[in-house]
Amino acid sequence: MRFHLAVLTTRAVNATSRRLGRGQGTVAGGRSGLKVDPRLLEHLTSGREVSLVTGTNGKTTTTRLLAVALGARGDRVVSNETGSNMPPGHVAALAGHRAATRAVLEVDEIYLPRVLAATRATCVVLLNLSRDQLDRTNEVRMVAGNWRAALAAAPHVTVVANADDPLVAWAAGAAARVRWVAVGLGWQLDAVGCPSCEGRIAFAPDGSWACVTGCGFTRPAPAVTLTATDHGTTFHGVWVDGRAEQITLALPGRFNYANALMAAVAAEAQGIDAGSALAAMGSVDAVAGRFTTRTVAGVPTRLILAKNPAGWSELLDLVAEDDGPIVISINARTADGADPSWLWDVPFERLAARVVVATGDRCRDLSVRLRYAGVDHVMEADPISAVGVAASGADRDRCVDVIGNYTAFGELLGARA
């Protein structure tokens, strides 16, 4: 009874909030529903096959790719596709699609233990773990330790884990069943201290790693490896039994091929052929507005989300392929983390020859960072005006790359054409 009332409440509040134009109506309804039935997440996932996806970077994209892959055979799949990755967002999505037999949920790093216990998920994908929103998460090692304890207490789970990330390997090492996937780790600086013994992890040029202090903690042998050929333009997943599947995506960036392979292995763990899973993912061309090309204030732009040093270092590779103007928008609201010190971990020096406009609530922090990086730039606090400033010196049809952290990105996504 309470459960049915909670589902109705969730849907009603969401519908109202959508009608009033107060956002996409995912969090408000979920909160109300959880108030009526605190065990709503548990009740809404009962009888469904649940997969959870977490990690610092790539959660939203991997969740989307896995949902598409699991739906390839016609199964109905529900997913929190807007990136609301805490329990209110989960119950809002689940309450809206009662007929779905499978659920793929993106989960905030901190919430994984709680959500795993409530949903009794059978598959957990661990992508990577590095510094992000430290005012909220404090320490990445603490997060890894909590994952480890949660997975040790869930013997029914199959974990799909990035073997190249020592913190992920530490967390997944406690699980009963793990499929190790080697997809690389662009940002290694948070993983040098050994999570097992407080010693030191050393990385080899091929991405393998081991604790050199002698506790024996070392990279698990991967069951599947991501390989790049033709100067990093062609990607394959290579299984230990010799099978190879080419990955063809409509999404840009090496990191998205890593996300796709993680999703393919998770689909395979749930009885779906990896080749068909990857084929289904090929049609995904934008995820929650990321990588979309759209017009902002009359200017053609490519909107990109980058919210922490690991994400940025992958992204600079992508942005460096071009030489057009760039707008960087930085906020420090609740969902971004209150301390933008991490800007100093991003190698902005690589943008030295580009036209750069600094914008967002914290454009002054960014401006000081760019000054010491030797990047000439203009500061314009209003993001929409900043797009205009960036375009003013370039050709009319020149696409402007607009890179924002979480709320800055959301603001630009909602901006008028």
Binding site: M142, A202, D365
Partner: protein, 248 residues
């Protein structure tokens, strides 16, 4: 000066969590912009620490912090160079480990490098996370602004002078209302931001210490000043909101 000013960022692989590596870059650039030759080195924890005129230590997590302290003591270069007059800027975890003792992840007491006459223990209250404003008392500087994120409570012994008095935030968190500590040319603080990005006058003080008091030509710090004004203004507003809430 014959040789370049040598600036070393100590163990960025262990003490680089909160963007504090920027402090080394800021010192190097502010020297170079004035025509002082400066050489910036990132010194990883698996190699002997190079000799330098300024050492920068940053924030790190509990586990790696223990490792960093142990390595610095085994290596011995940092303590020896401080005896010879080198300047040290130590932030957060770095601040704790240059003291006499600090707590590890398990709460156990670990011995620090002992450059500052301070001792840190696990704080009793919640972790101190947020914006800080502090009036400098230990050195002559304008108000300090930064962001703190730590669970330690640091007590100063008579050999160390508080860096500042906290106006907003927690700072040392030992009930004295102080923030940071200074002893000779070793300066410790809980402030990130990084601290030198938000307090360029502190960067210049460290440079003057390293350059034997040489006077430094002024720089165009309008970007830094704009950031300082914004942060100090935001903190004032937050304080006003807080006191209004208390009156209600």
């Amino acid at each position: 000066m014959t040789a370049a000013l040598r600036i070393v960022v100590v163990y960025p692989d262990l003490l680089g969590t909160y963007g504090d590596g920027g402090n080394g870059l800021i010192l190097a650039r502010r020297a170079q912009w004035r025509g002082v030759e400066a050489e910036l080195t990132q010194a990883p924890s698996d190699a002997p620490l190079p000799g330098a005129d300024i050492y920068c230590l940053g924030g790190g997590e509990d586990g790696p912090q223990v490792r960093a302290s142990r390595s610095l003591m085994e290596d011995g270069v940092l303590a020896r160079r401080v005896d010879e007059g080198a300047v040290v800027l130590a932030v957060c975890a770095g601040y704790q480990i240059v003291g006499k003792q600090f707590p590890g992840a398990d709460g156990a007491v670990h011995e620090g490098v002992g450059l500052l006459d301070i001792a840190t223990s696990k704080g009793a209250g919640p972790r101190a996370v947020g914006e800080v404003v502090a009036e400098a008392t230990g050195v002559a500087l304008p108000a300090l602004t930064g962001f703190e994120n730590h669970g330690g409570s640091t007590t100063l012994a008579p050999g160390a002078v508080p860096l500042a008095h906290v106006v907003k935030g927690t700072g040392n968190g030992d009930g004295t209302g102080t923030e940071g500590a200074v002893c000779g040319h070793v300066l410790g603080t809980y402030l990130h931001g990084p601290v030198l990005a938000r307090n360029p006058a502190l960067a210049d003080l460290l440079l003057r210490w390293a350059l034997d008091g040489a006077s430094l030509a002024p720089l165009d710090d309008s970007a830094e000043d704009a950031l300082r004004q914004e942060r100090l203004g935001a903190a004032r507003q937050a304080r006003r909101r807080q006191s209004r809430r208390r009156q209600k």
